[in-house]
Each structure stands twice: as C-alpha cells, then as structure tokens.
C-alpha cells in the first residue's frame, strides 16, 4: 500500500526543525513513501533537512509556482485547484512534463456519486479523489470508483468526521487506488493511516509486514505533535488490549484470540488486565499469582468484593499497588484460609 503522508504537512508550522527531522524519521520507519506539504511550508521543511525527493508539494495550478517547486529539486506536485478539466490544466501539465515533475490533479466529491465532472485516466493524469466531508459511503465508493477510474492512476483521501474514513480508504484501495493520502491518527481530519494500513494487511489479508514498533512510533509522533491519545483510539489507545470484565478476562486467560482481534505484540502493544467494578475471580487470582501472593478461594472471594467496592468508591479502576494494599488489609483472612 503506497502511503502519501500528510502528517508532516499538518505539523510543519508548529514544530522546530529538529522536531520535523525526528517526525520525518519516524514516518519513514513506518513506511511513508512521500510527504505532502503545502507550497507555503516548502521552505520550512527543506530547511529542516527533509530531502526534496521525499516531498510532494500542494500548489496552485500556476506555471510559475510549478517551476519554482521544480527549481527546489522537488519532483512531485499536487494541484490544489479542484475539479479542473484536462483542457483547463493543459498548460500546467505541459510545463510540468518539460521539467520532469509528476503532477497529480485533485477531484473533490461534493454530492451524489453520479455528478463527477471528470474521469481519472482519460487524460493520462494522476488524480487524488477527495471526500472532504467524509459523508460518502464505502459501499458507494466501491461501486463508483472502478467505473470512474478505468485505466487511470488515482489516489484517495477521505474525511473521517462521520467515522467512515478508514472504510472509504479501504474501499478505494480495493478499487485499485495507487495509494492513499493519510496522516497518523488522522490528525489531518482524514482516515487514520494506521487503521487503514493494519486493516488492509490483516482484514483484507494483503500479507504486508507490520512494523513491530508501529504503535510506539505512532504514539511518539503524536507526542511530538502534542496530541493526546484517547484510551480507546483503535490500535493506538492504551485500553486497546486491556481487559476488565470477568467474562473477558476469563476468556483471554484461556485463549487471547477469544477477545482480541490479533496479538498485541504484532504492532508493539501490550496486554493488560485492569481491576475494577467488573472484575471477577479470574482477574484477581491472576493478579495475585502474578504478584506472588498466596491465596485460596475464601481469600479470593473477599478480595473480589474489596476490589469492586474500592473501584466504586474512587470512581475508577484500581491503580498500581492498590491490590497489594487491599491484600494486606485482608491478610488475616488470606492467612487463616491459606
């Protein structure tokens, strides 16, 4: 899956040169093939040491701008003017070709699937299809894109406001997209790159190799950007492989596949068992054994109640060390029955 990154472009104005270099390094390790940045940010990014060959610049369809970008050593440009016909872009296209610059036009979806003004491939241009509002449906894209892109090279960017971005990007890939424009965690408002990438390789079974440090790298990137990671953010959140409810903990201890879609180590995540109001005997017993604390059935029953009551009192699950403190409080029971 070819990934045109928009994380660097989204962050370009807010980071120092060193931070931009670190960001580019992390993105390269994750597999970004090229970074798309705005024309106005080109100088900043080049000064940070990002190689021109790694960049694609989003620029107006003006011959002078295209030439200036080419003069900086950049060989790829996407035109920010939307939905221009081949005739309207003929002059720009010719100028870019003379300077060996690869041009990508932009086509934005505004409404019904049938109202497209242009067809990728008809004029030999590469196109990026944009669904800015993220309102189109993946089943529609799957029907519509193959008809519109026969023989043409195209990419896709889908907004994620309605939670459809990942599914739409996958639909585009299945329809033959050459690549997707996306940012880590969807910080550009689009489909989160990591969701598309992991789903493409695991659910669509494309067999790509997942970077073992995928999640830590993404989290470092979000740290650089100053973005918090929601606990339940797919793949990246710290709750993604955490289990609390009695049924789930019991199941995961028997066979993790029962309640996990894939092994956490595959993406650099870790499994954790949380103690709280939904905890049962299996979770508390596992934690006691992990801590090397002796217990029996009577001790366990008392501690499960104590765990649930403490969680209710403090309005949240137990923090590290709280089970040990509870155990010591109830130690006379554990000793007498142990």
């Amino acid at each position: 899956m070819r990934w045109i990154d928009s994380t660097l472009g989204t962050a370009a104005r807010g980071l120092s040169q060193q931070e931009l270099r670190m960001l580019a390094g992390e993105l390269a390790e994750l597999g970004a093939s090229v970074y798309e940045v705005a024309y106005s940010d080109l100088e900043t990014v080049l000064q940070a040491g990002v190689a021109p060959a790694q960049l694609r610049v989003l620029a107006p369809a003006e011959p002078a701008a295209i030439l200036a970008i080419g003069g900086a050593g950049v060989k790829a440009v996407r035109l920010e003017d939307h939905n221009r016909s081949a005739q309207q872009l003929a002059g720009v296209w010719q100028g870019a070709a003379q300077n060996e610059i690869q041009l990508t036009a932009t086509w934005e979806w505004h409404g019904e699937m049938g109202d497209g003004k242009t067809t990728a491939g008809a004029d030999g241009q590469s196109r990026l299809f944009i669904d800015r509002q993220g309102r189109a449906d993946p089943l529609d894209w799957a029907d519509w894109l193959p008809e519109r892109t026969k023989g043409g090279v195209f990419e896709f960017w889908g907004g994620n406001q309605c939670g459809l971005g990942t599914a739409n990007a996958l639909a585009a890939m299945r329809s033959g997209a050459d690549g997707i424009l996306a940012a880590v965690a969807g910080v550009d408002g689009g489909a989160p790159w990591e969701e598309v990438f992991v789903a493409w390789n695991l659910l669509e079974k494309k067999g790509g190799v997942l970077p073992p440090e995928l999640v830590p790298r993404c989290r470092r990137i979000l740290g650089l950007l100053g973005r918090p990671v929601p606990l339940n953010k797919p793949l990246l959140g710290s709750n993604i492989f955490a289990h609390e409810s009695g049924i789930h903990v019991d199941g995961v201890l028997k066979n993790p596949v029962l309640y996990e879609p894939f092994p956490p180590e595959l993406v650099g995540q870790r499994r954790s068992l949380i103690l709280g109001t939904h905890s049962g005997r299996a979770a508390v017993a596992q934690q006691l054994s992990h801590l090397g604390l002796p217990w029996d059935r009577g001790c366990l029953e008392v501690l499960v109640q104590a765990v649930q009551q403490l969680a209710r009192r403090q309005g949240a699950g137990l923090a590290a060390g709280q089970l040990v403190r509870l155990y010591r409080q109830e130690e006379w029971i554990c000793e007498s029955t142990g």
Binding site: L139, N168, A171, L231, S238, S245, P261, G276, G317
Partner: protein, 270 residues
C-alpha cells in the same frame, strides 16, 4: 426507513477497562438519552452483585420512557436475578462461534440451543420480553446463527443480536451477511459492532443498508478495547447519507461520560 438505536453505554460501554459510573451519572446519562429520543437501553448486569442490583432497581424507576434491558449470561439464576429486580426486558447471551464454544465454554452447539431455549422460555413464562445475543457471530457460521435464531424465536424471543465481538468484519462482509441473514431470520437482527479497526460506524451503516433496523452502540463509542459504534457519527451518517432525521441533543449525556472516562488513571482521555 427508521433506524432504532439500542444504547449500551451503561452496559458494554461501562465495561471500558477502568471506567466506573456513579449512580448519579447513570441516571443523568439515561435521562439525556431519553430526552434525545432513544428508546432502548441496555443498563447493566444484575448478576454483578447486590449493590449493582440496587442501582438497577433505582434506574428502573427513571426509565418510563423506554425499554430498559438487563444483560445476562444464559444462566437460569442470572435471569431470575434480573426478573427479581423488576426488569421486563431481558437479554440473554451465548456464543455461537465454534471457537468460543470450544475454548471458552468447552461446550457444543446442541448445548447452546438447549440453553437458549430454556432461558427464553423462563423469561417469557415470567411475562417479560426476551432478546437473545449471538456472541462472536461474526466468526461463526451463518447457518448456525439462523438455527440459533429460530430456536430462540420459537421459544418466544423478539430480537437477536449479531455481535462482531472483536471488530474484524469489513463493511462489504457485513453487507453480504446481513443481506443473506435478515430475510431468513424469523426475528429482527440487531447489529452490534466493535471498533478495533475503526470500522464500527461503517459496519453499522452497511448493516442498515442491507435491511437491519436495530443498531447497538454507545455514547463516545466507549466499551471494551476500542469500544462500540459511536452514536453521534452514526446518526451523522444516517442524516447526511440517507436523509434520516433523528436530531439528538446528546452533548449533556456525552459530557457525563467524558467526565467519568477522565477519572481513569493516566493522562489519556476520550
């Protein structure tokens, strides 16, 4: 086409690791959802203990404007506890994938059919409405799902939940399977997705496009791991793509959920 939302913020949502709702928060969330026009709510698990049952009895007093559902394992004693609390809408769940039957319960399909038949009859005999859950249906066989549904329907169940328990379905697969299952199923199917790959809303939308009129999810998408289908974007899709008008003032209830999530240890927050 009307799409009905079965809200599970107070049950599956509340199973988000580390999350604890106080009784006051549960009341506020339920009240907010009711004012927003939601009519079906899964509000808890009576088998969790006496304190939980006390809170559930309290919530049952709040909920005159909708169906308040107790979630249960398909265990006679658990169902009895739900009935004793005063629930008139009772959900019983069993896994239907061979993986879960073998590795979690060490049981077979025949046992599942016998158990669901007995539990649904127990609920109906008490005059309550029975709903059944087909846990891990996504990784199970469609024909067994239908056999399970027919058994439950014959015993008196009014709706069956198709659960994508670990969130591994793609929208195209949801579309294909719902288009196959719903016309063959004697009772309405409720689609219950998880968001492990960020596909829960798209999967719910695909289910609706293929004949499903009951969707299950939670406020802010809270739940186990990456959570459930998030109500707000789901309704945004309903309004913008299919023209359904279910404008809902949910901010107040979402605020209560966000506050509770914010208490979970660590600096992350929804």
């Amino acid at each position: 086409m009307r799409v009905n939302w079965v809200d599970t913020t107070l049950r599956d949502g509340a199973q988000m690791p580390g999350l604890v709702f106080s009784l006051l928060e549960r009341r506020k969330i339920l009240d907010g959802l009711m004012r927003a026009g939601i009519r079906s709510f899964e509000i808890g698990v009576p088998a969790m203990g006496e304190q939980e049952r006390g809170e559930l009895r309290d919530l049952l007093q709040v909920g005159s404007a909708g169906d308040l559902i107790a979630w249960n394992r398909a265990v006679a004693a658990d169902v009895e506890m739900a009935l004793a609390c005063g629930f008139r809408h009772i959900h019983v769940s069993l896994p239907v994938s061979d993986l879960q039957l073998r590795d979690k319960l060490q049981r077979d399909r025949r046992w599942v059919l016998h158990r669901i038949d007995a539990c649904v009859r127990q609920i109906c005999a008490a005059g309550a409405t029975a709903y059944v859950g087909a846990e891990d249906a996504a990784r199970g066989e469609d024909e067994f799902f239908l056999t399970y549904a027919r058994t439950a329907a014959t015993a008196g169940a009014k709706r069956i939940r198709f659960a994508d328990t670990v969130g591994t379905l793609l929208p195209e697969e949801v579309a294909r399977r719902m288009a196959y299952l719903q016309p063959r199923c004697p009772i309405p199917i409720e689609f219950h997705g998880h968001n492990d790959f960020g596909l829960a809303v798209a999967n719910a939308a695909a289910a609706v496009r293929n004949g499903i009129v009951w969707i299950s999810g939670s406020l802010l998408g809270i739940g186990e791991r990456a959570g459930n289908t998030d109500l707000r974007p789901f309704y945004a899709v309903q309004q913008s793509v299919w023209g359904v008008r279910e404008a809902a003032a949910l901010a107040e209830a979402e605020g209560v959920v966000a506050t509770a999530v914010g208490r979970i240890a660590g600096d992350d927050a929804v």
